[in-house]
Assembly symmetry: C2
Homo-oligomer: 149 residues x 2
């Protein structure tokens, strides 16, 4: 079947809705796995960043996840309450807040390794399909990024 070239207002033909629905569905599949770790999905993303590089600032975290302090500040406070990380002003520049994992935060990494494995099973997708879809989405996001000037 030939692709319809006319942009229209039919829900089922929108890329945006397909993206929005798939993203929510995938998050819903993560939910029970992350519940077991005591994390929400955005909190899990923050932990992924910190497991890669600890001691970064809120700004660096935000740049990585494309989230601002309005989202991150309360989220990080909750993770601090859960004893997974510490927030403290940097001495070198008091504007910045440095995020440091606690021992509990670091040890959660081990239990979290089950999460991607468990998800890979549910995805029923070959590694090549996985990589191709992921990279298409990444370039879409880059292409839609605000014009940098």
């Amino acid at each position: 079947m030939k692709a319809d070239l006319e942009p229209n207002l039919l829900l089922d033909e929108q890329l945006c809705f397909a993206l929005y629905a798939a993203s929510r569905r995938l998050t819903a599949v993560y939910r029970p796995l992350l519940d077991a770790l005591g994390l929400t999905y955005p909190q899990y993303l923050v932990m992924l960043v910190l497991w890669e590089r600890d001691g970064i600032t809120v700004r660096e975290l935000g740049a990585r996840l494309q989230l601002d302090s309005g989202t991150l500040t309360p989220l990080l406070k909750r993770l601090e309450q859960a004893d997974l990380l510490l927030r403290r002003r940097r001495e070198s520049d008091e504007r910045e807040v440095e995020i440091t994992l606690t021992n509990a935060g670091r040890s959660l990494h081990e239990r979290a390794t089950e999460v991607p494995r468990c998800l890979a099973k549910k995805l029923c997708m070959s590694a090549d399909e996985f990589v191709r879809l992921r990279d298409e989405l990444k370039s879409l996001a880059i292409q839609l990024a605000p014009t940098q000037e």
Copy 2:
């Protein structure tokens, strides 16, 4: 380059983050266009459904968008406040609430036709690429749907 077969915890290799980030980016591109119509992105989705078929219930709307009454009820109340639709209990079954477009709600359709056209430009994607990505996301969502039993 060969696809990495090992599921891991690196942010940039996660499909979920690519999906989450792309979805938020695309919504952000819609935002100024929808602001002009006085709609948020989820409100726009509701209007898409109603422009296709008016007089449906909250349940049918929810089935279509995969949203529950906890999300839809307040959203629909806001659209009612904006004079775009009416909510009223059905006489045939008082449990159901039927959503009907007002004249203002119907006439918004015409102005909205600009939205997908405007977006198609920003996407810089061939119709075939567009359709393929959209349909991959749709089958991903279907595949991740809760096991129906």
